[in-house]
């Protein structure tokens, strides 16, 4: 029961900032996502199981010799990350929508791009965690050494680009009734440049190609990351508003 004696005191609520500090708001969104995911493990476990299944299916489907395995590694890896990533992005935004929490976020007196960056960081963290587990499993199954600093850098850059555009599009698709189907349909055509550059750079590192050959796709990846983040920063407010 409500206790009358516990009425709110007429204290003045102090705010550390009048309209919210950007970095603190980003940190709050990340904290909330990680905390909730730590409890439910809904998103992470779905992404991980799905990734492992894809790797297994490819392993059985492509009965390849050791040389061929090396040549398809980059493609199989990025197909796995892209499909699992879509699953995570969909779920991450659906959690916000299901209980009206997206409205709760949008009602906060902070720049709405802080919400976007918070979601990007937490989505990226979950995707990288899945990748950290998938890489050694893949190495064992396909007998390919994936622990090369250059390749790990490419995976990081590719994941940033993928999550940056995916978070924006998932915020758009979650408002529709067909959100589960719509996200991959919207996302894959837009993210093709990132995936192509990531596959090319990954393949270069795995083949031990010259740095000059690998540099172009890496530069493209960096450029796409910057462009996608900048565009999302500018349009996120319009995307989430009715």
């Amino acid at each position: 029961m409500v206790n009358k004696a516990t009425e709110l005191k007429s204290m003045t609520i102090e705010r550390t900032r009048p309209a919210g500090s950007f970095i603190k708001a980003v940190a709050a969104v990340v904290w909330k996502d990680v905390r909730a995911e730590f409890r439910s493990r809904e998103l992470f476990s779905a992404m991980l199981v799905f990734s492992l299944l894809i790797i297994l299916i490819f392993n059985f489907a492509l009965e390849l010799d050791i040389k061929m395995r090396q040549s398809v590694t980059a493609g199989v890896l990025w197909a796995t990350f892209a499909f699992a990533g879509t699953l995570g992005l969909n779920r991450s935004m659906a959690i916000e929508k299901d209980r009206g929490c997206l409205d709760g976020l949008l009602l906060a007196p902070v720049d709405r791009s802080a919400i976007y960056f918070g979601k990007v960081i937490s989505n990226l963290a979950f995707m990288l965690m899945v990748e950290i587990i998938v890489l050694p499993v893949y190495s064992v199954l396909y007998s390919v050494n994936l622990f090369q600093p250059g390749l790990l850098l490419v995976i990081l850059l590719g994941s940033i680009g993928y999550v940056a555009v995916g978070t924006l599009l998932s915020a758009m698709s979650v408002q529709t009734r067909t959100r589960d189907i719509l996200l991959p349909i919207l996302l894959f055509p837009v993210v093709i440049p990132v995936l192509l550059a990531a596959v090319k750079a990954s393949s270069g590192f795995l083949r031990g190609a010259e740095l000059a050959e690998i540099l172009l796709p890496i530069n493209l990846l960096i450029a796409y990351d910057i462009i996608f983040i900048a565009v999302a920063f500018m349009v996120f407010d319009s995307v989430v508003e009715e």
Binding site: L8, S10, R35, E241
Partner: protein, 249 residues
């Protein structure tokens, strides 16, 4: 001659008006939901916004909450204009809808802590304790929200909405899905919230509850405010007859 106003500057509210809405129009594609709504609320007023399904109550509240942009018209809350000064408006606004806007996998305390951080509150621990005591959930502060009943979630949702001590609170059908006991408990929380002198706008289908709580009654019908009456003005008739007349007229 043109006068350029600084958009970041607060325009002093005319006299003592907390919410001013002028000629508000909202269209979704070809469908016009609001057709020129004029609406004013004074500080401390508790306005019940009544009307049939599809009258535009939720759309109207979402515009006041800065969740939806008006197609045409002027909206001013606590001296700040929407949508240009949305951040300033949001800092002074609390919203409770029929959805709890709470995370099921976080505890009651963690939910309030998260929203408190989003609003940049200091001394959060003390504030969370006060709010949880106000809504009668202090004993459940470390329980996950998904284990709460619908009534408890709604009380916590009110706690979330008043956490930053807003000047204005918007309630959108807060009684939806609540049983009799939970509704009575919510009545008490609403009275406590309103007793602090906050300005409240509530949409509801429950005329009896609105009559019990509100100081003014506005009927929204076919996208306009069809009638308005104060509690004093209703003395000769009851809210139900007033509501029927307003819809018929």
């Amino acid at each position: 001659m043109f006068v350029v106003l600084n958009k970041s500057k607060r325009v002093a509210p005319t006299k003592s008006i907390m919410i001013t809405v002028k000629k508000l129009v909202k269209r979704f594609g070809l469908k016009t939901v609001l057709r020129g709504v004029d609406f004013e609320v004074q500080p401390g007023e508790f306005v019940a916004l009544l009307g049939p399904n599809g009258a535009g109550k939720t759309t109207f509240l979402r515009i006041l909450a800065s969740l939806s942009r008006p197609t045409l018209g002027e909206v001013n809350i606590a001296g700040y204009q929407l949508p240009n000064q949305a951040s300033q408006v949001r800092a002074r606004l609390g919203v409770v809808s029929h959805l709890p806007l709470l995370y099921g996998d976080l505890t009651a305390e963690e939910n309030l802590s998260f929203y408190g951080r989003m609003y940049g509150l200091t001394d959060l621990e003390q504030r969370i304790t006060e709010v949880l005591e106000m809504v009668g959930l202090e004993a459940r502060r470390r329980d996950l929200v998904r284990t709460f009943s619908r009534g408890m979630q709604q009380r916590l949702a009110i706690g979330r909405a008043v956490l930053h001590d807003p000047d204005v609170i918007l309630f959108d059908e807060p009684y939806t899905g609540l049983d009799q006991d939970a509704s009575s408990m919510l009545d008490e929380v609403l009275k406590t919230v309103a007793a602090k002198g906050r300005t409240v706008v509530m949409t509801s289908h429950d005329l009896a509850r609105a009559e019990d709580l509100a100081t003014r009654f506005d009927i929204l019908s076919r996208g306009i405010i069809a009638a308005t009456a104060s509690r004093k003005g209703l003395r000769k008739t009851n809210l139900s007859s007033f509501y029927k007349q307003a819809l018929a007229g």
